[in-house]
């Protein structure tokens, strides 16, 4: 516990940490201003719009030969628009919850990048500055020191999330009031209203997939190679390339059992389709979990065994 305090103090003694926090907050504040500005210019007769959409889409469905998934998108949109007209539910422009949702999406991307930087540097920087030898000649087992660094990284990431969520809630409430949107969804042929907050938190928790896997992977590379730039580079490269690689290899069975297929858990969320047909959230969680354990075990073994020559 004291070790986590130590790491926390060190983390916040670095300017880069504050820069990350401030950037994070700016990334919520700036879009809020921009969205508010554009919001005011667009508000007209929504019924007309809906009817227009329905007509257009029906024409497309009649004329074009659509495959299954695109076809169902048009059908569902038509169903939803009809439902709106029948029940007189206006589509909302920006509301507090849609804003928060958008911001959460942006935040989880940015947080992944920031947290990778921290996870990659928190061990390797001790090696590069030579302070590792001061740290490892204390009456504290090495694994405890490593664990304190991991825990600190995770707490830092959650702090960024919390900051983004709270700020987006405050700005959302100030700019758009506390009225919620009425998101509609077609589930099993029925139009239903979905609960705003449960879908928000579903998204939040599903973003933990890439959050934790990126931390563990960057932590592993940073510890093994003692180079933060390598760890940052490799982790971000993998997370940006993973979609492409997975699609390229999608016809092979083994890809289902590689963690990069499942890092983005949001593909299993309501209203999304998984990249590889036949994969489920359970499979995704299991695969991620197994890889997480493997990464951590390697990290801890290497750190414990290594001779320190810094």
């Amino acid at each position: 516990m004291k070790l986590v305090v130590n790491e926390w103090v060190k983390l916040w003694s670095k300017k880069s940490t504050w820069v990350m926090l401030i950037l994070m907050l700016l990334l919520v504040i700036v879009p809020a201003g921009v969205m508010k500005y554009y919001d005011e210019s667009s508000s007209d007769n929504w019924q007309q719009n809906s009817q227009q959409v329905i007509q257009d889409f029906e024409k497309i469905i009649e004329e074009d030969d659509l495959d299954e998934s695109t076809g169902s998108y048009y059908y569902e949109t038509i169903m939803i628009e009809n439902y709106r007209l029948e029940h007189n539910i206006a589509p909302n422009g920006t509301t507090m919850d849609t804003f928060m949702r958008n911001m959460l999406e942006v935040a989880s991307m940015v947080i992944t990048i920031f947290i990778v930087t921290v996870a990659a540097g928190i061990v390797s920087s001790e090696y590069s500055t030579g302070t590792i030898k001061m740290l490892l000649t204390r009456p504290v087992a090495r694994w405890k020191i490593l664990l304190s660094k991991l825990v600190t990284t995770i707490i830092f990431g959650l702090t960024l999330y919390l900051a983004a969520i709270i700020l987006s809630a405050i700005l959302g409430a100030i700019f758009w009031g506390t009225a919620m949107s009425t998101p509609l969804e077609v589930i099993e042929g029925q139009v239903v209203q979905i609960d705003v907050w449960s879908s928000y938190f579903e998204m939040f928790f599903l973003s933990f997939g890439s959050f934790f896997m990126s931390i563990f992977f960057a932590f592993l590379i940073g510890t093994i190679f003692r180079s933060s730039s390598l760890a940052i580079g490799l982790t971000l490269f993998i997370s940006f390339m993973s979609n492409m690689v997975v699609l390229l290899l999608s016809r092979y069975e083994f890809i289902k059992y590689v963690w990069i297929t499942h890092v983005n858990l949001n593909q299993y969320g309501t209203g999304y389709t998984p990249m590889i047909p036949g994969t489920t959230l359970t499979l995704g969680l299991t695969v991620n979990f197994v890889y997480a354990i493997i990464f951590l075990v390697i990290t801890f073994i290497v750190f414990n065994k290594r001779d320190v020559t810094a």
């Binding site: 305090v5 103090v9 670095k14 030898k133 490892l136 000649t137 204390r138 009456p139 504290v140 020559t309």
Partner: protein
């Protein structure tokens, strides 16, 4: 016989098939200051790294206060304070925060203790500045402070005076003496500076090529020649009749056992003006060079 506080038993280290440390055994006793002396690349730092758990020995073990370093790391290392080569601190934090940081890693280091140590190393005025702005000697002092924080029974210092000014070295030496005598701390100081080792240590362990080749007690009786300077010279020469003497600068080198010095001085004082009497400690340096074979760095035997 006093129990050794630290026992190093048959320590060996092989890296890339090179045997860097070969079967090194040595005991350290409370209140004793031991010098680690050896040419560059002899294996002093490597030995110290193994004694502090930074490196794992290929064979052999280190026992500190009765506890095996390998098997009972946390309990064994509690008793150790260490500086390995340059003390690296967190440059982006103040000296004080650095000490707080390390204090949190030990049991029972109070705020009062931190302040006390800061005073001992003479850093009170600059302790709240960032370590990045410190000079080499100041960092060295801070390094000493962190090693002393938890009142270790065993203090390991690898080239600790590197970068200290003369006054600093002197204070440092006095301080080591003080804690060795009053608190019974056992101290190891590695250096390749003979003069330093001689002034500071009770005994010297000479390491070469990864082997411990000699352990010598240092005491004044070792150096059996003394330099004596007095006026008038002729009178002095007469008084020194019976001793083997040789002219040196403004005085003479006299071969004489330490015990006879006071008696001789009494005799001299009444007859001549004595300006200087000092032991000639050249012998250690000579012995060292003789044993280690001069300056060239040895190839590591395979």
């Amino acid at each position: 016989m006093v129990q050794p506080i630290v026992q190093v038993k048959n320590l060996s280290k092989t890296i890339n098939n090179k045997r860097i440390i070969k079967d090194l055994s040595i005991d350290f006793f409370p209140g004793q200051i031991t010098g680690f002396l050896g040419p560059n690349g002899a294996g002093k730092t490597t030995t110290i790294r193994m004694m502090t758990g930074l490196m794992h020995p290929t064979a052999g073990e280190v026992i500190i206060d009765g506890k095996s370093l390998a098997k009972n790391y946390e309990a064994a290392i509690t008793q150790v304070g260490v500086i390995v080569e340059n003390p690296e601190m967190y440059k982006f934090m103040s000296g004080y925060k650095n000490l707080q940081h390390f204090a949190r890693m030990h049991e029972g280091v109070t705020k009062g203790r931190i302040d006390e140590v800061i005073r001992q190393v003479g850093l009170e005025k600059r302790i709240h500045e960032k370590v990045g702005t410190y000079s080499l000697g100041m960092r060295q002092r801070l390094g000493l402070a962190q090693a002393l924080l938890h009142r270790p029974k065993f203090l390991i210092l690898d080239e600790p005076t590197n970068g200290l000014d003369p006054a600093g070295i002197r204070e440092f030496r006095m301080h080591l003496r003080h804690i060795a005598q009053t608190e019974g701390v056992s101290i190891v100081v590695s250096s390749h500076l003979l003069s330093e080792i001689e002034l500071m240590c009770d005994r010297v362990a000479i390491i070469q090529n990864g082997e411990l080749i000699d352990i010598k007690e240092i005491n004044a009786s070792e150096s059996s020649t003394y330099y004596i300077e007095a006026e008038p010279k002729e009178k002095l020469m007469q008084l020194l009749d019976g001793y083997t003497i040789s002219a040196n600068e403004n005085g003479f080198n006299v071969e004489i056992p330490k015990q006879q010095i006071p008696a001789l001085l009494k005799k001299l004082a009444s007859e001549v003006e004595v300006y200087a009497v000092q032991p000639n400690n050249k012998t250690l340096e000579d012995q060292f060079l003789e044993m280690t074979g001069g300056g060239a760095i040895d190839e590591i035997s395979r």
